[in-house]
């Protein structure tokens, strides 16, 4: 259609295509998978990476922001990390590869590479739509990940922590997880860099949550200062299922974390909480598309942002209420603390409501620290800089405390305090 496009490829686009060609025959997959990969890469070739003219990428012009792609990662093992909470069951994905022998009691675990090789991954490998650049990149390049099946009525006594660790390079992973009915537990999806070497990370978590499950899923992104992180989670929420989804961004140079959530079972409930800690010259985008597809579902979304230096942040929150999804109750809020004159945060709430008996609302605030709070702390002898740090911490800690699990709250507050101490 557009004959000119190839000649206008950016360096990063050209490098992606070259990386794909260089890995010809090396990326795992049967015929169907390979055909899907080729088609996805072809889409990237044809339309390039999205620019601000693509609505979903209006505030994150990927074509211009993604300047370079690091070389394909070697398979050199990088070190594993200490789990966030002691006693967690840990599954590591190191440098894009799983440990084939990994096991956690009661769970069925296999490697995604195997699903690619036997072709069972082919149907879900595609992108979500023409603007799904994350899905395209991941689908083209993904090599491995864990496929996890959690049988009905399982109660995970300890959190399941999935550490996706790298030492730079191109890392493309996928995590399909199926929760049977009535499963209870906490999963931590943690992205972590252990070196200063730049990385291009793409990751897709593909989650199906069975009826009546009560789950907490935490995405903790701690990539390195030169890393690009393109994350996506796809969630299908069954009847009466309750999900607390926490998204914490505390790293990366260019970050896009997409949340594609469908409430497909009546009585389901989503609690989304986001924390964006932004500093330096970074760009971080959290984009949510939530579909209330059936009647009687609820959701609340609270995003808290702390922005230092020349950092830029984006939150796009789209709530779609289907025509017969009566009695939907959805509330969305986005609160930002701008800590410097050059800091930026863009908020785009969107409500698309096709049912008439629903409650949907959204609100956004941008503020400095509350001077009454600051005065109160100082009036007790706490010096101004320390009082400010306490209040910034409090602004996000309030969200973390909703997790209720004390060990997890402590661990996350530790990460947040450490980040703030480094950047404030």
């Amino acid at each position: 259609m557009n004959m000119q496009t190839t000649s206008r490829l950016t360096a990063a686009e050209a490098a992606l295509i070259e990386a794909f060609n260089n890995q010809f025959g090396k990326l795992p997959g049967d015929g169907a998978v390979t055909a899907t990969r080729d088609r996805l890469l072809d889409d990237i070739k044809k339309s390039g990476l999205p620019t601000r003219r693509v609505e979903a990428w209006h505030y994150t012009d990927l074509k211009n922001l993604l300047r370079a792609i690091p070389a394909v990662a070697g398979d050199a093992a990088s070190k594993t990390v200490k789990p966030l909470v002691e006693g967690s069951s840990v599954l590591s994905i190191v440098q894009g590869h799983v440990d084939a022998k990994a096991s956690v009691g009661g769970l069925e675990i296999s490697s995604y590479a195997q699903s690619l090789l036997d072709g069972s991954a082919a149907t879900s490998l595609g992108a979500l739509g023409a603007d799904d650049a994350v899905g395209r990149i991941n689908g083209s390049f993904v090599r491995d990940g864990y496929v996890i099946d959690i049988p009905a009525e399982t109660e995970l006594e300890q959190p399941l922590e999935i550490d996706i660790v790298h030492a730079g390079g191109q890392i493309h992973t996928r995590l399909p997880v199926t929760f049977g009915a009535g499963v209870k537990g906490t999963v931590i999806e943690r992205h972590l860099s252990v070196t200063a070497d730049a990385a291009l990370v793409s990751h897709v978590s593909d989650i199906t949550i069975g009826d009546g499950s009560e789950l907490t899923w935490i995405i903790l992104q701690q990539q390195g200062g030169d890393d690009t992180h393109l994350g996506q989670i796809r969630i299908d929420l069954g009847a009466d299922a309750k999900l607390k989804l926490f998204v914490i961004n505390a790293g990366g140079k260019l970050v896009r974390q997409e949340l594609h959530i469908k409430a497909t079972g009546e009585g389901s409930d989503l609690t989304l909480r986001g924390i964006n800690l932004l500093g330096g010259e970074t760009h971080t985008d959290v984009t949510m598309v939530l579909g209330h597809n059936v009647p009687n579902t609820g959701s609340t979304e609270i995003i808290r942002n702390v922005v230092f230096d020349r950092a830029k942040g984006v939150f796009q929150g789209m709530i779609r209420v289907a025509p017969d999804a009566q009695k939907t109750d959805a509330k969305m809020a986005c609160n930002t603390l701008l800590m410097s004159d050059d800091a930026e945060f863009s908020v785009k709430p969107e409500l698309e409501i096709f049912a008439d008996d629903v409650q949907c609302g959204h609100g956004a605030t941008v503020a400095d620290i509350d001077s009454n709070h600051l005065y109160y702390l100082m009036a007790r002898g706490i010096p101004e800089n320390k009082a400010r740090a306490m209040l910034v911490n409090a602004f996000v800690a309030e969200i973390v405390e909703e997790l209720e699990d004390e060990a997890l709250v402590d661990a996350l507050e530790g990460i947040i305090s450490a980040w703030l101490e480094k950047h404030a």
Partner: protein, 251 residues
Amino acid sequence: MLEIRNLHARIAEDGTEIIRGLNLTVKAGEIAAIMGPNGSGKSTLSYILSGREDYEVTEGDILYNGESILELDAAERASKGIFLAFQYPVEIPGVATMQFLKVAMNEQRKARGEEELKTPDFMRLVKDAAAKLQINPDMLKRPLNVGFSGGEKKRAEILQMALLQPQLCVLDETDSGLDIDALKIVADGVNALRSPDRAVIVITHYQRLLDYIVPDTVHVLYKGKVIKSGDKTLAHELEANGYADIIGAAA
């Protein structure tokens, strides 16, 4: 201990003058009551003493232990021993009460060149002080002042005062919103802090609190200055006759 000389102060934002030539001396060991009708500048005086930045001193001086404190910020004044028990303590979600108490106590100790408290010692101090004020330990597990009733907030202020052991305590309408039992507990807490090297300024509308915290001196504030001073009988007079006579006499 405290000497306020011809103080003039205004709201920084709009320049409204609130304090207009106020003179007041409070000696160590003294309990001074400040009374006055609404809008006379009582709360403003407490904010200015504690170093709130919303007010500007345009004339006069505040001497504390012989030194001017006008150039000190709120935190510096607090660490020198000035404490304001707020009329409306703010709720700060996300700041744990215990963490706040520990940081405040240790920052003050640091500023005075003392060693930081060890956690077990800190816990013991808080537990003892809370028990004396009949504060439920569960309250201290909550974020600072969040979800506290009016009475609980006032008790929490006195708890902070007991822990920080200030030299100059300013109580801004600590009696408002308290039932009689809570009032007695709070008054006992204040009386326990009475000592020859500590001074207390009690700002109140009502004689009631002064039945429990008996003042050595009573000062009537009107239109930003002290128009009459006396001993505790002055408070009784005000309770019986209102402010009109005194204001009339001063005019």
